[in-house]
Amino acid sequence: MCSVCGCGEVQFRPVADGARAQSATVGWRPAAVTANAAPVAELPLDFGSGPARAHAPGLSQGQMVRIEQDILGYNDRLASANRAWLAARGIFALNLVSSPGSGKTTLLCRTIRALADECPVTVVEGDQQTEFDAERIRASGARALQINTGKGCHLDAQMVGRALPILAPADDSLLLIENVGNLVCPAAFDLGEAHKVVILSVTEGEDKPLKYPDMFAAADLMLLNKVDLLPHLSFDVDKAEAFARRVNPALQIIRVSATTGEGFEPWLAWVRLGLERATVGATRPTGLTRMAGG
């Protein structure tokens, strides 16, 4: 329908343990949201205030109806449902966001290998097209589900909500959601994750946090990646970090290299702490059985 953004055909390509399930591709349109939109809590409508108010002149038949609803309210409700689903199972979920080419997938692969003996890791991969990233992730030993957003520029809570029961991550495990490479749109869409982690690489400009402030404001942790390349670049690390903290004073920052493994200990320690908290804080109802396949 749209050639600009998020309402093209979305395809799920779930693959369990490397075996491609041919019948599992699901054609799906975000526009279907309309069909099951939640009821308007504020109704019945206020028709008591009479005809159109002063700022709507010339439309004598018109009546102003107060709505007061957040535009992202529907996404936020679905994100809350995802968050509850994850919390019930003690799953620690991270939403990894960055511009294309920052090294997200390489970073994920190294993280998965480093945690291989500690806890199961599953990955949701968001890209406009191809299954390349999911294949790379599977090669590193984790189960991955690719979501192709078509013309869409971000993952939303409904897509992730569909992915969760298909991927069926184990209780007390780590779920990594690699968002579409885009420093703008994913900032606005809560997926139900515990934290957004923004990845900035030193081959980009140090002024990125000021150019794309929404993303750095939405993140709790910034990984400054590719620091092994610093000797060859004029990138000013202190300036980049100061810019990021100007946008988000509470932002934690860890310098890493997904290629050499530099800085991985503090990053993995941060992940382990989150895993521990998710396990301890799990809202597991008694007798909960994990939904398998929807």
């Binding site: 709505i67 529907y74 000021l210």
Partner: protein, 113 residues
Amino acid sequence: MHEMSLAEGIRSIVESAARDGGFSRVTRVVLEIGALSAVEKDALRFCFDAVMRGTVAGGAVVEMIDLPGAGLCVQCGRNVPIAARYDACPACGSYRVQPTAGMEMRVRELEVE
């Protein structure tokens, strides 16, 4: 670029309100957009027209009310106006300003027939 998704969110709210309120035509949609929200207003206007076509709000006028940004300066403790997330506190110059208003993206009201 995510304005198309936002426009679809607006359509969903408008259609649901029309269904529940029993009105057949929406002629004006009034939005509240905060200065710190992630909305490019021109893009949203463009997407709005495309997405509303063929619905009860086809051809409706979209009106956007700007809501100002404000923040609490952690350094000096004042509530101050800010125009962007990276703005310094106008009182003390600190960048440690926690936004408190201006993140809104809301459908405020509809003009209906």
